[in-house]
């Protein structure tokens, strides 16, 4: 759509500009199929939107953890060499806060997403949905958040209340353009 005349009433001009902003300007790029989007879109939101079918329990996850995770995160998930995954609850207010999934992460969905997206290192994408659910269940169980027999799936995972869910300020993140902060520091 084009605005042909400068003499059109202001209201019409405004609606014309709004309509133009919604019209493709260059007509480059192609429309992906729904199947293509499904294949590319691995995002999981905090309400669990995007989680695939499948399920797992801590018991199933234990063996998987041993084979796929323990080499970097330690046999008990606390000793490393990489980041500890288990423990740390009650340490956040100390001078040595131990941030783990259990002590710090506000959403259980993030655990599923991160294992699915990037773990294990050098074998990314090799775990099935069931395996990711099982390892997630194992880590939640070992952090004292769920029972060993709890079945974790697309329905139950987002409902898990993480211990540090209310440990963040502000509760809703936002950004303001040209916001003035003392010394430029977020506080």
């Amino acid at each position: 759509m084009r605005c042909y005349s400068l003499l059109v009433p202001l209201v019409a001009l405004a609606s014309c500009a709004a309509a133009r902003a919604q019209t493709p300007l260059h007509n480059l790029g192609r429309t992906p199929s729904a199947e293509e989007i499904r294949a590319w879109d691995i995002s999981i939101n905090p309400e669990g939107k995007g989680l695939p079918p499948g399920s797992g329990t801590a018991k199933q996850g234990e063996t998987l953890y041993e084979h796929k995770c323990a080499r970097c995160h330690g046999k008990t998930g606390t000793e490393g060499p990489n980041e500890p995954l288990i423990g740390g609850q009650g340490t956040l207010q100390t001078e040595r806060p131990v941030r783990t999934i259990g002590s710090f992460w506000p959403f259980a969905t993030t655990i599923w997403d991160y294992i699915n997206r990037g773990m294990p290192q050098y074998e990314e994408g090799s775990l099935s949905a069931d395996q990711v659910y099982a390892i997630t269940a194992f880590l939640l169980y070992r952090n004292g958040i769920i029972h060993e027999s709890d079945v974790i799936d697309a329905n139950s995972l987002p409902k898990i209340q993480m211990p540090n869910r209310n440990g963040f300020v502000p509760p809703k993140p936002e950004w303001k353009r040209r916001e003035k902060r003392p010394f430029g520091i977020y506080h």
Binding site: A21, Q22, P24, L25, H26, L28, G29, R30, T31, P32, E36, I37, W40, D41, I42, S43, I44, N45, P46, E83, L92, Q93, E95, R96, P97, R99, F104, W105, P106, F107, T109, T110, D113, Y114, R117, G118, M119, Q121, Y122, E124, G125, G167, F168, V169, P170, P173, E174, W175, R177, R178, E179, K180, R181, P182, F183, G184, I185, Y186, H187
Partner: protein
């Protein structure tokens, strides 16, 4: 090889022989040849793709730390050579992406999801902009002291997680106009194509403001370790937002809450007992790059103190330099161009009288935010004193404290933050 090409090669060889002769003939007053030996690089090699002089040895690799950092002590001007741009993380090899296969998908809360090839992106109207990219952990001079008892020695160690490039690409706002954005949308998540598919949520308002989808860096394609063939540049924001090897953008009505906005980047605030969730812009920061830690002044006399200043909040308005440990401050000269969210070079003439001197700089940006001392930083960041910052194992990001360097009588320069 065709005739023309053979002729060109002959010409290059002939030119090299002449150049070699000339080098051999240049002698200094003492009779010693300049340069101890002939370069072993064949002329064809460095003419095909330029090499720096073999006498220039500045590198971003640092044997004392696996992280690679920009060697700011050797920097001149405001542009960081692409080959010296810091790399985070360093433990992954950059993916080997064929640009003909690479695609960018934009979907989610848009009217028309679109997939772009690199060829299509390059047909769109482009912009070039000079911006710094800085890691949220940059400027933490205390980190090394906590690990091995010693303050970071050089400016590469203290501030080397920043770099400034000219980025060329298309504005994300333009791509989002191509797809149309639904009214309820407020965020997007950007994702890389590397095996671990690092992702980060970004406010839509920022995306519509000045975010670049870049394929060019300093006059050539973005380097593989910087995101070839396509990356995001989010001016002024923590480095983690600048997703490399960009493959997907999903428009959302809330942050996606993936790992990068969950585990490392929130700040646990001692005074609130809670974590500051999202932190976006890097604060105003400046540092003297010469003279700086680990360097040595050969004699008393004239030196040009120089350094860099930058702010995620906008353009640098003022840089002041103190040569007496912060008792008095004088304005430094700002080198044009002074750009928003870009390194700005400052200069300050100085005659060193041979006595001990503590050199430091502080900057002010154009929203009037001023660079703090370490004590001021601690107070605002979390109601803590410098003692806390020296010892805590709590992760402290966004440190933008004034950095003092102490010049001793023997001309040696060391980190004098504490």
């Amino acid at each position: 090889m065709n005739t023309k090409e053979r002729g060109r090669r002959r010409f290059l060889k002939g030119g090299a022989a002449l150049a070699g002769l000339a080098v051999g003939e240049i002698r200094s007053a003492s009779g010693q040849a300049i340069g101890s030996e002939r370069p072993e690089v064949r002329p064809e090699d460095f003419r095909a793709y330029g090499e720096r002089s073999r006498f220039v040895t500045s590198v971003r690799r640092d044997p004392r730390n696996p992280n690679s950092r920009t060697p700011l002590q050797d920097s001149v001007g405001i542009i960081t050579p692409s080959a010296l741009h810091f790399m985070v993380p360093t433990w992954i090899d950059p993916p080997d992406i064929d640009p003909w296969q690479h695609r960018l998908l934009i979907h989610g809360m848009v009217d028309r999801p679109l997939i772009f090839s690199m060829e299509e992106l390059k047909r769109l109207p482009s912009v070039s902009r000079i911006h710094f990219v800085e890691c949220a952990g940059s400027g933490d001079s205390l980190e090394e002291r906590k690990k091995n008892g010693m303050l970071a020695e050089t400016v590469q160690r203290t501030h080397g997680l920043t770099a400034c490039s000219e980025w060329t690409g298309v504005l994300l706002s333009m791509l989002l106009r191509e797809t149309g954005v639904q009214k309820e949308a407020t965020w997007l998540v950007a994702e890389g194509a590397e095996p671990r598919k690092r992702s980060k949520s970004i406010p839509l308002e920022k995306a519509m403001d000045d975010v670049l989808v870049a394929y060019g860096q300093n006059g050539e394609p973005v380097r593989p370790e910087q995101g070839y063939p396509l990356r995001l540049v989010v001016p002024g924001f923590e480095g983690v937002h600048n997703i490399k090897w960009l493959r997907r953008i999903k428009v959302l009505d809330q942050p996606s809450m993936e790992k990068e906005e969950t585990s490392h980047y929130p700040t646990q605030r001692p005074d609130l007992g809670k974590a500051r969730w999202f932190q976006f812009e890097m604060g105003p920061k400046s540092v003297i790059t010469f003279p700086s830690g680990g360097q040595r002044l050969p004699s008393r006399g004239f030196y040009e103190i120089t350094g860099l200043a930058w702010s995620g909040g906008g353009a640098i308005q003022r840089v002041e330099v103190s040569t007496d440990g912060g008792r008095t401050w004088k304005d430094a000269e700002l080198q044009e161009p002074v750009l928003r969210m870009a390194h700005t070079r400052f200069r300050f003439p100085w005659n060193w009288d041979g006595d001990e001197a503590v050199l430091q700089s502080r900057c002010t940006d154009d929203v009037e935010a001023i660079q703090p001392t370490l004590a001021e930083f601690g107070r605002i960041w979390g109601g803590v004193d410098s003692e806390y910052l020296k010892t805590t194992r709590n992760k402290v990001n966004h440190i933008n404290a004034i950095q003092p360097w102490k010049v001793s009588r023997d001309g040696s320069v060391r980190n004098a933050l504490l």
